[in-house]
């Protein structure tokens, strides 16, 4: 299996990880490449604190946070991507976002989560408690809605154009000559056996 990742291959460390985080873990799965831990949202800070500070882990850098909208029963998931430069390891934490859409912020543990959490808030509307500066980051000033949710249309709601009469840039409701044509060509057959 081709993997550009550093897998969590030391069994001893894997064992330790499960011992320490054991009570916090809902489940974990080890793909061939990725070590993904499922953690409940209320245990996030404690788990990250342990992962960051215990000398056997030393996950000293938070590399990425992203969310997915899976449209399922548990709708939003957060993925945290941590690396340990000491042990050359990478780990993923997966957190099911609760119905309240509230998750604790990691800003005190990892300052890099500042903009990442702002981005998740901007795109998905997941609120981070104790963030302190949770503003939109990538969308326009005064943007409304959470664009990466699956119920947000790809074309959006507004368009921006220059109005000659007003002599300024104005927002107006989007008018397209035709609806977005979105075809799915995926076969209904199960194709998973090909791989």
């Amino acid at each position: 299996m081709h993997s550009p990742l550093i897998s969590y291959n030391s069994y001893r460390k894997r064992f330790l990880l499960l011992r320490v985080l054991g009570p916090k873990l809902k489940s974990f799965f080890i793909d061939d490449n990725f070590f993904v831990l499922d953690i409940e949202a209320k245990d996030l800070i404690v788990s990250c604190f342990l992962l960051k500070n215990l000398s056997v882990f030393k996950f000293n850098s938070l590399v990425n946070i992203f969310s997915i909208d899976s449209m399922g029963l548990g709708r939003y998931f957060l993925f945290y991507n941590l690396i340990s430069t000491k042990y050359n390891t990478r780990i993923f934490l997966r957190v099911l976002v609760p119905q309240s859409m509230l998750v604790s912020s990691l800003i005190n543990l990892y300052p890099s989560s500042n903009w990442l959490e702002r981005e998740v808030w901007d795109f998905f509307g997941i609120f981070f408690i104790n963030h302190g500066d949770l503003r939109r980051i990538l969308t326009d000033y005064g943007f409304d809605g959470f664009p990466l949710r699956k119920n947000f249309p790809l074309t959006g709601f507004y368009e921006v154009q220059y109005d000659v009469d007003v002599k300024s840039v104005i927002y107006s409701f989007l008018e397209t000559t035709q609806e977005l044509r979105f075809y799915k060509f995926t076969t209904p057959w199960d194709r998973s056996f090909f791989f």
Partner: protein, 402 residues
Amino acid sequence: MKFSKETKSFKVKNFLLNFGPQHPAAHGVLRLILELDGELVLKTEAHIGLLHRGTEKLIEYKNTLQALPYFDRLDYVSMMVQEYAFSIAIENLIGYKANIYDTVLRIIFIEITRILNHLLAITTHALDVGAMTPFLWAFEEREKLMFFYERVSGARLHAALIRPGGFIRSIPNGFFEQLKEFLIEFPSRIDEIEDLLNKNRIWSQRLVNIGVLNIKDALSYGFTGVLLRGSGLAWDLRDVDNKNSGYDLFNFIVPIGSVGDCYDRYLIRLFEMRSSCLLLNDACTFFLNNSAPYNKLYDHKLMPPSRYMMKNSMEALIHHFKYYTEGLFLPFGFSYGCIEAPKGEFGVSVVSHGDSLPVRCNIRAPGFFHLQGLDCLLKNHLIADLTTIIGALDLVFGEIDR
């Protein structure tokens, strides 16, 4: 108008200055709100997203074939590296391992891209600081390097060459010989740039001890790439993860900085160009010694068959049709593909629910993190150092704003 005779004691307040978003030293559409005390910058607040194009949302509606060209357009000065990251993420998801020829060929293009990027990064940085000549010289070299892009893909910039499963085109005859010829004379071009900059008094006065960052801060801000190495940590994904990316075939040195200032970052970029040259040379030798199979037998579930095959084989026709209509089938799961891009760790996370369209494709852009750390880097520096620090961060807004 009356003047009161009493003298008033008044407090000088810090003032806010808007920088950008069309400032030429901002390397794109960066808007900064600077809080200044005289000329001293106390706080920086970056407003980004002026180039936001919704790439991640668009990819959710595109199959792999359609999504790949978006990656060229993210960081538009290091194109193929990003195609590679996406391809690797998809290949991981599918469970495909590229053969040795493709791996080495990918390394060749990644390293060409690294040189392209660093030439631009160093010389536009120099342009910001006031040295114009290196910029003009480097762009001539960039043109020569883009010729290699063009020969193999037909496009100078947005190549769309590296696809999940291999290369969309075969390499033209004489490509490696030409690349070797280029590599013979290119190091002397780096020497020329070094001659102009290294011991230049203005250059060193403006770079040395500016924007110093220690390892701990660099890690906590999620810095990767040249900025992390400049702070003194030898963390290069090509090195720490060499087995999987194919870099274990080649020898190269990971340079690290001693001070962690902008001058270190400049020196590291220069060094990386030289080591990329050596890597390219080795990779070309690899191909000249073991001739690559001409008709590579790709897995046609991943790569389209050739036109000839498509016209002559029923199987191939079916594969062709399925590839161009349905696209690649992405099995259920999560996958992450990352590569040491010239700017840092460029990662693509793909989540699929068993469909040809991904549920989510997240792009981890290194520049996003570097810009986030700008506040930390710029604190208590003069406003004149702003251009130096932004230049050394090597920001490209295509990838930051996505």
